[in-house]
Amino acid sequence: MAENIVVTSIGILSALGLGTDANLHSLVNNKSGLRHPKHLRTIHSAAFLVGEVDLSNDELAALLGIAPGDNGYTRTTLLALAAMQDLLKNADLELLRKESLAFINANTVGGMCSVEDMYPDFISEKQDGPFVKYIDTLDCAESTLNVARHFGLKPLMSTISTACSSSANALILGARLIQHGVVKRAICGGCDALSRFTLNGFNSLKNVDKTPCRPFDQDRFGLNLGEGAAYLLLETEADAIKRGATILARFTGYSNTNDAYHTTAPEPGGKGAARTMQGALDKAGLEAADIGYINAHGTATINNDAAEGKAIETLFGDKVPFSSTKPFTGHTLAAAGAVEAVFSIWCLQQGMALPNLNFSTRMEELTISPVVQLVKDLNIKNVLSNSFGFGGSNVSLIFSAA
């Protein structure tokens, strides 16, 4: 039950690119992935910046050996497949096929990115057409099942949707399944594609920034949406050592709590966020001072940053460098927890704190500010990553040096 869980492979696709090298290169060179959308067809494309993956659906399909066009694969699934392919480059596929495995995926709107284009056909009198291939793609499990099938895996599968904390929750579930002995290994993460549905949803809440988002800044306005997918392979430390796998990080702490305060807004004093971070510290057996870098949720919405900033200040004072990487990737929603877990692991491995782009003025209610330039040569033993979502859903994860 108390087995140590480690991360032995990662796969990532974001607006910064596909794979570790592309993402890391942008992060350490202050290169944001935000731009006006070229794949998402929306009347708002001139108004809003998004963290859109550069590859088109056909380009993604080509990378995966899938026929182009209306192939029945939604962009959500294609993003997931590409990130999983990246993970498998450094994993033993035969081992994953042979030994017990869980695949815990997460997303917020399933294949809405395709369904919203075809919905008029869905509900028309038409019985046939390309849309028929997409009828079962709206639900969140579709991408999960497709990923497993594409790579010839027969894992125990699940899909989680807790808004913007979804893939952080997927990581927790995977670790617990291993600790209970249900499976030997778990691939956990999430995927979300940009959709008009989500963009207009957040826009109807009036919290989408038309300029690059400014997390933890006094003059922040809101978020930029993004898309992407990221997966992490988890197993026990003992198993990883036995098979000679490279251990990227240890997954030592996690916590899932709820604000029980409001349907969309966090508790303004940050009590919920603080409780979650404290819970993760307790689980890892660490003190606040043991954390070397915090990858904040930092959506740049008025409410999130006020609550999260307050919580970080309460728990960590000005001792721990923190930043939000949302200005690089946009808010990738269900994928964010896994994308930022990957970023956090790189910070742990390389002793760095990533910059919080676009910050200029400290929030008047805070005495702390995020890191604004890349900081290197830090001695980081543990990193903390936050993911908070609608419905009061709060998750914190802690990764520790291998």
Binding site: G110, D139, A141, M157, T162, S204, T257, N258, G392
Partner: protein, 357 residues
């Protein structure tokens, strides 16, 4: 082997009268158009009048069912809330989506967007019960509720103290959803009377349903009438794997097929799915009672919730309603129940329930 999970209370809204279990099946409700919609209870007893006005029906159903389950268990604040849903609030999703298309992405109402979020019922229940603990939503199609139960079992096994979890599931039927899925042959081509569903196994497809069920679960026995011992999920399984899985689940619990006193099956009238139950029942003795339920609630992602509610009712001493019995056995005291269900897209779940003696 994980320790069992005790069901302290169970509440369901379904196409039958079920919210008040004393009035279950009085009268039996049926339909002739391949759709079964729920019987609405009085939601105003569980939700404040200001909030209720903007709520869509599934949100109201979810909150009311969850709150009543806790009330029946005598619990104000559970330690955790875990749910499963295949589709979340379809009405809200469809509403926001069609408005967005019709109004060309202008002037949209955020309420529908917020309520379409899969975990919105969890958020409401956390607020109403002041539950700041673990909160989770599974959206894995036909296994959504099974995962909620599995997670609850793991969490209750992790807990060192007495712990209670509110676990539930919710899915709703809409006319658009019915139309859309008819294009990929989910439903029977010609209308059948819902009560005749299980006598219509020569044709493909089933009838559509909906429902909500919530359970207050604990790692302590208290006065529980039923315990969940083991949960197994099989994706794209062949007949042989299904028979084996039933044997495995029994062996793990040191039981033989003869120890099973009652089998609850999710047969849904689809000719193409009968093999699942033939396989699952292969080793079950001829004198074991078999009960079915989808002619009462229709097919939906989380119908296992209704089946578990029914199992718990029977476990608590309710006489098995004749309308559910597809084979009358000769068993004595009810001790072990096996619940086998499937969902349209090739998922089969097997749940072993035991009645504390």
């Amino acid at each position: 082997m994980m320790k069992p999970v005790y069901i302290l209370s169970a509440t369901a809204i379904s196409p039958q009268h079920s919210f008040d279990p004393a009035g279950f099946l009085q009268p039996v409700m049926s339909s002739d158009n391949n759709k079964l919609f729920v019987q609405d209870p009085d939601y105003t007893k569980f939700i404040n009048p200001v909030a209720i006005r903007r709520m869509s029906r599934l949100i109201k159903m979810g909150i009311s069912t969850g709150m009543k389950s806790l009330q029946d268990a005598g619990i104000t604040t559970p330690d955790s809330i875990i749910t499963g849903t295949g589709r979340g609030s379809m009405n809200d999703t469809e509403h926001f989506l069609t408005d967005m298309i019709r109004m060309n992405e202008e002037a949209l109402n955020p309420t529908f967007f917020i309520q379409s979020t899969y975990n919105s019922i969890n958020g409401w229940l956390a607020m109403q019960t002041k539950c700041t603990g673990y909160n989770q939503t599974f959206v894995h199609r036909g296994f959504s509720f099974e995962w909620a139960l599995m997670d609850a079992q793991m969490l209750l096994n992790e807990a060192a103290q007495p712990t209670t979890i509110l676990a539930g599931c919710f899915d709703e039927l809409t006319d658009d959803y019915f139309l859309v899925k008819s294009k990929v042959d989910y439903w029977k081509k010609s209308p059948v009377n819902s009560l005749e569903l299980l006598n219509n196994i020569q044709t493909k497809g089933t009838i559509a349903g909906e429902g909500v069920a919530f359970f207050t679960l604990s790692n302590e026995r208290h006065n529980a009438s039923c315990a969940i011992t083991a949960i197994k999920m099989l994706q794209n399984a062949e007949a042989e794997e299904i028979s084996q899985a039933v044997n495995e689940i029994l062996t793990q619990s040191k039981l033989s097929p003869a120890d099973i006193d009652l089998v609850i099956t999710g047969r849904n009238g689809d000719a193409a799915r009968e093999y699942i139950y033939d396989a699952a029942l292969k080793n079950i003795p001829e004198d074991t009672t078999i009960v079915s339920f989808k002619h009462l609630c229709g097919e939906y992602d989380t119908s296992t919730g209704f089946a578990l509610w029914l199992a718990n009712l029977i476990a608590a001493g309710k006489e098995i309603p004749g309308i559910c019995i597809t084979r009358q056995g000769t068993n004595g005291i009810l001790k072990n129940i096996i619940l086998i269900n499937h969902y349209i897209l090739n998922s089969v779940s097997i749940i072993l329930l035991q009645i504390p003696q």
